[in-house]
Amino acid sequence: MGKQGLFAFAVIFWAMQSSPALSEGDPMAGQAAFRLCAACHMIGDGAINRAGPHLDDLMGRPVGGLSDYRYSDTLTEAGNEGELWTEDRLNSFLEDPQGYYRGTRMVFRGISDPNTRADLVAYIVAEADNYDRAATATSTGDMPPEIAAILAIQGDYAYGEYLSSECTACHATQSGGDIPSIVGLAPSTFVHSLISYKIGQREHQVMTMIANRLGDEEIAALAAYFTTVE
């Protein structure tokens, strides 16, 4: 086994063993505890979004990962940066939601009892049919390499300001609802949006044309500008 293999093995081992309290959680007790969540969240087959996103098959899913739910910028950004829902992450989030993801829209002060959290996590895991614990724990996330490459570039603010004038012909400072405002987005969200047009994940005649013309330097420059202006 090479050094890298040893490391991967260690990560898997660590992930499986890291939290004894979590592995001892009782899904039945978790189901009872879920009534704390059920005012806003559905879980199980056929669950749909309500005030909060549905939690069926949550485990292993990117944070902020449902395309039909409108998350806070914080969760969207975390997902863009490749964060997935693992048992450890869920446990930490449930302990102090606002502390873990500052800006989350989830209005819930958290659960201080580690046993209740372990039960809840065990229940949510049990409702995740295709959860691959080991793969999720070792995943570096599914951030497309195109996005990671651009986020690694130090964007040229002045160039971004110049390029931004191409955007402001259609994107007003305040969103009127017909064309969204793009001011103050998190860098990963901004880059992710443009890349999704470039790679055909999203389609729009104008945006596809505009994005296709932007190279990595241009997108990084635009992100540097738009993420800082008010």
Binding site: Y162, E166, T168, A169, C170, Q205, V206, M209
Partner: protein, 423 residues
């Protein structure tokens, strides 16, 4: 050592004194840019030059109207989709927030040797750089029988405002089953889809208020912008209402008699009830007076919109002969940003970036039936050259068309904010 209040105030005063002295000195010696025309090209250029130079350039904007009505979306007013007031914009924010010297007057002469401009009111302005964005004027006698003296009998409504309101009033008062005629312009002209969006909006209005009315388009062009999309829409929404006479049937030989309300097409005289004459066009008069035109339009460099006749004069928008971009408000706004970047770099030491251009033109055919065409462009030695483009498709579903229309509403809010600095 903590400062007490007295020391703090003293140090603030000293600090602001060191800042303000050079600012004053700079304002007196700062270069002057005069922008003539406060539309999509001129207002945008003035704002971007003032903002980009951060006070390093004195910007004067010369625009006769105090309340500017956008030509884009004026067809939607004809169709009943917009109020006229929603198309009006003032220059107050450009003066108050951007420090632009807004002068409501007509520029009547340019002395390119002395670098001065004469205003109709008698005042004179000097410039280091001049930006001309005067839009269009009409070519006299391009439609025999029509002149500015008779424009109230047969409105052009191709500069938005009172003419647009007049045309709408005439349409509203047209006799039942009457004929609305449009004399369409030859290429090149402002807003290529404009006449055909107008026909759509008039048809929408008449379908509701005067459904037996007819629309006659007399068009000297073989084909027109988004033709397949418009004709498909007219067939779906206004079946049998619209007839177009092209050059094959004499539409290149048209004259009008505004007193008799007749249109003569290759000798055949048609009696009409309301007539919209959109004459052939050329660059706004001040561009000709400045001596920067070659024929009807002002040739410019694609790199910074500088006149090919005088590099200290830039010409934007409809008035410019620049290459592949259509004469649209969107194009003028795009060109203004490239021009402003170049001027700020030259006069105030800003960084110069490569020219890049884009355009999209939205048109409304009927309620929630919007279409669009757009392209990106780059600068070459020869011209502004098209890179890539798109156009709406005939078989799009209703949701796509509605989204396209809603998008145009968002664009209107954004581009007017981009021009006037305020929503």
């Amino acid at each position: 050592m903590p400062l007490d209040r007295r020391q703090f105030l003293g140090s603030t005063a000293a600090f602001s004194a060191t800042l303000s002295t050079p600012m004053l000195a700079r304002a007196q010696t700062a270069p002057n840019v005069v922008v003539i025309g406060g539309g999509a090209g001129g207002a945008t250029a003035a704002r971007y030059i003032a903002n980009g130079s951060q006070g390093g350039i004195n910007v004067t904007l010369v625009e006769p109207t105090r309340s500017y009505f956008t030509c884009f979306f004026s067809n939607l007013y004809l169709g009943g989709f917009r109020e006229i007031d929603s198309l009006g914009h003032s220059y107050g924010t450009l003066a108050a927030d951007y420090g632009i010297n807004v002068v409501h007057d007509w520029a009547v002469d340019v002395d390119r040797q002395a670098k001065t401009i004469t205003l109709a009111g008698g005042a004179s302005l000097s410039y280091d750089r001049l930006v001309l964005s005067p839009g269009i004027d009409f070519i006299e006698d391009s439609v025999p029988g029509w002149s500015l003296a008779t424009q109230n009998a047969m409105p052009h409504a191709y500069k938005a405002g009172s003419q647009t309101e007049l045309l709408k009033a005439q349409l509203a008062n047209m006799r039942e089953g009457g004929v609305f005629a449009m004399v369409a312009p030859p290429n090149p002209y402002r807003c290529p889809p404009g006449p055909y969006e107008r026909v759509s909006m008039v048809a929408h209005m008449l379908k509701e208020t005067n459904p037996t009315a007819k629309i006659l388009i007399v068009d000297p062009k073989e084909s027109f912008s988004k033709q397949g999309l418009f004709e498909d829409g007219w067939e779906r929404h206004y079946t049998g209402m619209i007839e177009r006479i092209g050059p094959d049937f004499g539409a290149t030989n048209v004259s009008v008699d505004p007193a008799a309300m007749t249109v003569s097409i290759d000798g055949n005289v048609e009696q009409v009830d309301v007539c919209n004459v959109i004459p052939a066009q050329r660059a706004g008069r001040i561009a000709h007076l400045a001596g920067v035109t070659d024929g009807n339009w002002a040739p410019v460099s694609a790199y910074n919109l500088a006149s090919r006749i005088d590099e200290n004069v830039h010409v934007l928008g409809d008035a410019a002969a620049q290459g592949d971009m259509p004469k649209s408000g969107f194009s003028a706004n795009s060109q203004a940003k490239v021009c402003a970047n170049s001027i700020v770099a030259d006069l105030a030491g800003g960084r110069a970036f490569p020219a890049r251009f884009a355009n999209t033109c939205w048109s409304l055919i009927d309620t929630n039936d919007g279409i669009k065409v757009g392209a990106t462009y780059e600068a070459t030695d020869e011209k502004i050259a098209k890179i890539d483009g798109f156009v709406s498709q005939v078989d799009e579903d209703a949701a796509t068309r509605e989204a396209t229309y809603r998008e145009s509403l968002g664009w209107y809010d954004a581009i007017t904010e981009d021009m006037f600095g305020t929503a």
